[in-house]
């Protein structure tokens, strides 16, 4: 499988990274090089092999469903580029 510039443009859109045509064109061979290389995994017989989900076997812990922190609104906003009236502000979404 190899990617076309149209696919790379689509991936950039999914990844929310702005790119101009020159950047897209430069990425096409780079990504194809890397994808061509990882495709050697196709040689490995993985029939009946379960995908690994936990690298060290352990059960995910449960905790009581209770609020155990909070009241840190100002801390949450401390690094926001634009916080107004206790909200994160963003460019207008709905006209």
């Amino acid at each position: 499988m190899s990617v076309t510039s149209q696919q790379v443009r689509h991936i950039a859109k999914l990844a929310r990274i702005g790119m101009d045509d020159a950047q897209i064109e430069a990425l096409v061979p780079e990504l194809n090089n890397i994808l061509g290389w990882v495709e050697q995994l196709g040689e490995v017989n993985t029939d009946g092999v379960e995908p690994l989900t936990a690298v060290i076997d352990q059960k995910l812990r449960l905790r009581d469903d209770v609020v155990n922190d909070g009241d840190i609104r100002d801390k949450v906003f401390a690094n926001a580029p634009d916080a107004q009236h206790g909200f994160f502000a963003v460019p207008k979404v709905i006209e």
């Binding site: 990844a15 990274i17 890397i34 990882v38 196709g42 995908p51 926001a80 580029p81």
Partner: protein
């Protein structure tokens, strides 16, 4: 007191406790060394007052007799660890100016043990790189140079600032993180020791995420003993990290022993690969002899899926990264690009301006392998191969107690010398399999190559058996007698 900067953490600790010198003197010496080493570009931010405050607290506590294990020891902290009120940027423009209102568990553990902080250490952007060249702050210069050459060398990466700081004597010990070799390869490049513990030993809470199923913190220092001291303070169960191991922290320093009688050292035949310099294979053979001398028996083992580890890693790590880095959207923290009309345009412009080329490349690969229609062919396939790699190690540890390999396929290279992304990825060919299997692994200095540059030996242990890794590392350290230091040019 400049000679204090040549001491190990164990020597500093013992000298401070016996009253030979004060914690203040230690902090002053290292603060001065840091201030005088700007040419290395190892620190992104210096915090001398933090080191002094911890030192003064240690000096006061010394008379009361209640000292933490790292009282009086100032450390460098990789810029991937959130440090309360102090810039934490992961080497990225997108986090420039970010000051966390919280402290990472690992750095908090170090503070509770009495350590102070000299500053934050430069690194590849979001820990994606093997040369520290992807940092938004520019590359770190290795303190090492080839004999008779002025060419600037990389300290490796991604913990490049960490490695350079210890090698240059501008920190007695540091934190690093290792996703696919980022502690071990730079440790090897600059002639120091570094250990990545079992996945889950050190809490990931407050460490900027790269690939969460692989990310693991660990120490880097001059000696194996120093690594044991630091790791003991860093590790421990943390309910705030869902994959933190609920296991007691062994007393690794007290357990150190270089007597390997009755231990079997696995030598994986698949690690003899083409294109590796003869000097590196010769050092590997020398390492086998050293471990035999320590009482161990070498056994040939097979890790049949070794050659698939790197391509597996370069599917899984970018996939997890593309998901983790989705949070940098210009809304809650970090950079925001202004002057665009819509929210979608703001996301795209912010991420275009904030991420460097390598980070974008990996987000793109990750997004692709997780996208509809390709998920099974790439991501699920890679997770199946990862299971086979894990199984290889499980079988190998039925035959041996520890595995010995070279750390990296070359000595340090020059800044700007490796421009092809794939060639850069190959740096971690020996380091990545242990990462995929979540196993403890360590690099210790073995010797110098023909150009006078350090080479490392790599030890991989079974799950939770950091002690075996440290002990084998100690056996090599005692026999290698590696005392070479870079000549000061900075």
């Amino acid at each position: 007191m400049s000679e204090l900067t040549t001491k190990t953490i164990a020597e500093l600790r013992d000298g401070f406790r016996s009253g030979e010198f004060s914690a203040r003197e230690i902090a002053d010496s290292f603060n001065a060394a840091v201030a005088g080493a700007k040419a290395l570009n190892a620190y992104t931010i210096e915090t001398p007052e933090d080191a002094l405050a911890a030192a003064d607290a240690a000096d006061r506590a010394r008379s009361s007799g209640e000292l933490g294990s790292l009282a009086g020891i100032p450390l460098g902290i990789k810029d991937l660890f959130a440090t309360q009120g102090i810039d934490t940027t992961a080497g990225s423009k997108i986090l420039r100016g970010f000051r966390p209102p919280y402290e990472s568990t690992v750095s908090d553990n170090l503070r509770k043990a009495g350590a102070g902080m000299l500053g934050k250490l430069n690194m590849d952007e979001f820990a994606m790189g093997s040369s520290n060249e992807t940092s938004a702050y520019g590359p770190v210069m290795s303190p090492w140079r080839r004999q008779g050459s002025n060419v600037g060398l990389t300290p490796g990466g991604s913990s490049g600032g960490s490695a350079a700081a210890v090698a240059a004597g501008i920190a007695p010990g540091v934190t690093g993180t290792d996703t696919g070799g980022s502690i071990r390869q730079p440790a090897a490049f600059v002639g120091i020791s570094g250990i990545k513990p079992t996945y889950g030993r050190c809490s990931r809470w407050g460490i900027v995420s790269f690939a969460s199923s692989l990310d693991q913190a660990g120490p880097m220092a001059r000696t194996v003993r120093d690594c044991a001291i630091l790791l003991e303070a860093m590790a421990g169960f943390d309910p705030k990290d869902s994959t933190s191991l609920d296991q007691p922290v062994p007393r690794w320093e007290a357990g150190l022993s270089s007597n390997l009688k009755g231990k079997r050292v696995g030598i994986p035949k698949e690690y003899r690969i083409d294109g590796v310099p003869a000097e590196i294979n010769a050092l590997w053979d020398q390492g086998i002899e050293w471990l035999k001398d320590a009482g161990a028996t070498p056994v040939e083992i097979s890790l049949p899926h070794t050659k698939y580890a790197l391509p597996t890693y370069y599917i899984i790590a970018p996939a997890e990264a593309s998901s983790n880095l989705a949070r940098y959207d210009g809304v809650r923290y970090g950079l925001r690009e202004e002057g665009v009309k819509t929210l979608d345009d703001m996301y795209a412009a912010t991420r275009a301006a904030g991420f460097g080329a390598e980070v974008k490349r990996r987000i793109m690969i990750g997004t692709y392998v997780l996208s509809a229609g390709f998920y099974d062919a790439y991501f699920t396939k890679a997770q199946r191969v990862r299971a086979l790699i894990k199984q290889d190690f499980r079988k190998a540890f039925e035959q041996c107690d520890v595995i010995l390999t070279p750390t990296a396929p070359s000595a340090a290279f020059g800044i700007g010398e490796t421009t092809d992304p794939l060639a850069m990825y190959l740096n971690d060919v020996f380091a990545v399999p242990a990462s995929l299997a979540g196993l403890p692994a360590m690099s210790v200095p073995g010797g110098l190559d023909g150009q006078g540059l350090p080479l490392g030996l790599h030890l991989i242990g079974n799950e939770l058996d950091e002690q075996m890794v440290l002990n084998a590392g100690l056996a090599i350290e005692e026999r290698a007698g590696f005392t070479a230091r870079p000549e000061k040019w900075w």
